[in-house]
Symmetry: C2
Subunit: 483 residues, 2 copies
């Protein structure tokens, strides 16, 4: 039976399938908090898999805080589980496009990041301790010396061929088959998305976005003189296809593009089912609205295999897939890319106009890392750490925040979206938290229409047990607002 | 008397003053082609300066192709001189703003650059042989390893403090006193100019530009939905202040900014007199029109000391000074900067929105080079080479191109602007030249209003005596068009 399941879920490894079955039993209540889970030996026999596979599965479930080992006694369902808050629900759609003006808050959150005195729950940046710093810096050095003249010369668009070849190869695991020529290197993923927005739109146009949406995108949309139409999204299903279809049918405005983060969405952290991705691509194709897909978190799946992208279902070149290595390797290297389908030539021109080219040495270093640096091994390591940290932080939120607080259960990435009781003001909490040395991203940043006043986004990448106290402080401040 | 002159021209070194006097005698016809110039010893006595100073002055004049040494005989005014074509004259002003649409030619010239089979007279890029490649790549390596975590992390705007400090220090030689906080690092000078244009304008606005103007700027202006108003400029005086004043007074359109390259203008190569810079700044201040000043060639003065920038006369923060290290150190590092006066905060926000930050390792490497790499020594070397190459290429143009061809005599940088007889089509020449393996930038790219049909811009940075043949080919093709 297990073998059969494995064939069905071809994207999973054996230990994940085993872990998934235990998790299912826990989540459905068959195994209840505090109960003992089957011993490694017995489960190994029962399922006909090796001892090591079960060990690996249990270790994974420990990381996810679903079970815990007790010395000389075996594995148990964690008692904390019932305290874990529910997932936030998403709002109803609003069909009127809104102009954005949250610039001041945005700049404050960005500035906070430069302040080393603050606990950094704010920007969604990875923990440098989890980046392969020394190896990357070594490769930066060796690749530049080897390339010599090339390293100081322009890597004119589309950018380093070696890097584009590596990206095209890896795209297979996203369900895409590109040639290197279909990839353009950008200075990070944000630049890729901005170039796409600029090429596709004219001032006054409307961009369909998920809500909540990564605040940088909202700022960009404002900056380009565009409007947003916020389509509700859930962490489980992604952008609501019903609401999207309704908006496409009924909106009076000229819609220039639809912008989504399909895997481990910022801020919701969910993973859109493949079927929804396919339907999303088809729906937009039908209305001739280009899809800008941001997959920057795709490689940070808590499962061992990363999910496919919506672009995998693109038959007409209508999807512009954007990503980068800023979450997995080196944000400071500023190396991202876009596979822009039928808009590739326009994007290439826009890139040249924006800054001629992306820096060459960092392209060479990333190319080297992808080809010989053990990127997959590195990903396996950090995925597991982030899975654990996200669970630990969610656990702490459950312990310290007011009753009725809800939190996402991300399947990848390292951020959490927290919905506190209605009476709590995220902006007030933000001000109070900064005064005691903590920064985070307040919910109102994630909407152009005044939503999420009682929500906050927390970065779990820097989680340490010592930081538990900072979550406790946030929880206490939130509790005080209720009084 | 010489001492007195030196005090007057405080920006010149002694040998430059000596060279200037001989050049004056040559240019005014006191010393005529083929005539012997005073011996080193006699001039040294006559002027009361050292033998070495005169030697250095003569060496400089040789580089500029004004004099030549004949073995066992002394120095002579070069016979070629009378063949050197005149400077091009500039057109009359046109007061109607024009929309730009030269995208196709622009892309072709950019693409040509990737073709190693073409003689590269096209883009204005420096000769990699003249870049301190190994030293830079070493510093890239050492600075990144030393900074370790910092090297892979965001250098969020305003960017690396170490680099901004170095830039602020060097700004003294441009006549400016900045604090490091007044400088924002960008991904090259083009990005700095684009950010300035974007922050200052709304679609439909007009930008006042010099004509001819660097074609990338025209493309950017088109891309932003802006119009240009072309103000005539000469290589000697820069943008015509009379025409500019007239335009400011009479144009109906909303003028968002004025954009100039004040030192060694691309394509004219001239150096605007300080007095004109002061008047330009005051005039624009009076009309409350911000000045975007591009100084990317400023460090490549053929004199030993670089000229000041217009920003030196800015009292109100109305000037946005843009530059980079792409012409002097490493185009591929993509490190530029902007000192945006009272627009600094807005530009900083625009930078974050465009691509979050500039790559960190290349910032660290350039900072290291500026502080310990001997940048001034490096500049002295390449200035002399470019001065010689520019003169040699101009000389070849004089030999091979049709009678009545005019060419600029740049005082810095490495490009030449060539005006051929009216009947010759630069676009036709461009097509023919590509077929025989030569690329250049055709004149029409440098105007939005159809000017410069008979002009071309040539890059002298790659000059070698062997390339003389390519100039001969261009000349022959041009001659053929006349038949």
């Amino acid at each position: 039976m297990l073998k059969h399941e494995c064939q069905q879920v071809a994207s999973q490894t054996l230990y994940e399938t085993v872990a998934g079955r235990i998790a299912y039993l826990v989540e459905e209540g068959t195994l209840r908090p505090g109960e003992r889970v089957p011993s490694i030996r017995s489960l190994s026999k029962q399922l006909g898999v090796s001892i090591n596979t079960v060990k690996e599965a249990y270790s994974h479930l420990e990381d996810r805080r679903l079970i815990e080992a007790r010395p000389q006694s075996g594995y148990y369902v964690r008692a904390r589980l019932p305290d874990l808050p529910d997932e936030p629900v998403v709002d109803e759609p609003a069909l009127r496009p809104t102009e954005v003006s949250l610039g001041k808050v945005y700049r404050m959150v960005m500035k906070d990041q430069l302040n080393p005195g603050l606990v950094p729950f704010g920007l969604a940046i990875p923990d440098p301790e989890l980046l392969p710093i020394d190896k990357l810096n070594r490769m930066l050095s060796s690749a530049s010396r080897r390339a010599r003249t090339q390293a100081v010369s322009y890597a004119l668009p589309p950018g380093s061929e070696k890097l584009r070849t590596q990206i095209a190869r890896r795209a297979l695991s996203c369900g895409c088959t590109f040639s290197p020529d279909e990839v353009l290197i950008t200075s990070g993923c944000v630049e890729a998305v901005v170039l796409a927005l600029r090429v596709l739109s004219r001032p006054g146009d409307t961009i369909l976005v998920e809500t909540p949406i990564y605040f940088n995108f909202l700022q960009q949309i404002e900056d380009l003189g565009l409007k947003t139409l916020e389509i509700p999204a859930s962490s489980r299903d992604g952008i609501s296809l019903d609401a999207l279809g309704y908006a496409l049918e009924h909106t009076q405005d000229r819609i220039a593009a639809c912008l989504v983060i399909s895997n481990f969405n910022n801020p919701l952290g969910g993973q859109v089912p493949d079927e929804n991705k396919r339907r999303l691509v088809e729906l937009l194709e039908q209305y001739q609205v280009p899809l800008i897909e941001d997959d920057i978190y795709g490689d940070l799946s808590f499962a061992d295999k990363r999910p496919v992208v919506a672009k995998a279902y693109d038959r007409s070149g209508n999807v512009l897939l954007c990503s980068s290595f800023s979450k997995t390797l080196a944000p400071g290297y500023r190396v991202g890319w876009i596979a822009a389908g039928r808009y590739q030539e326009q994007i290439e021109r826009a890139k040249m106009l924006a800054n001629v080219a992306t820096a060459t040495p960092t392209q060479l270093a990333i190319a080297e890392f992808l080809s010989t640096g053990g990127y997959d091994h590195h990903l396996r390591t950090i995925r597991r750490v982030y899975a654990r940290q996200v669970a630990q932080m969610a656990d702490a939120i459950g312990r310290y925040f007011p009753v009725d607080t809800r939190v996402t259960r991300p399947l990848g990435g390292f951020i959490l979206w927290v919905e506190m009781p209605q009476q709590i003001s995220a902006m007030k909490l933000y001000e109070q938290a900064r005064q005691v040395g903590i920064t985070f991203a307040p919910g109102p940043l994630f909407s152009a229409s005044g939503k999420y006043q009682n929500c906050i986004r927390l970065n779990a990448a820097f989680w340490r047990d010592e930081i538990d106290g900072a979550v406790a402080t946030l929880g206490r401040l939130a509790q005080e607002q209720l009084r």
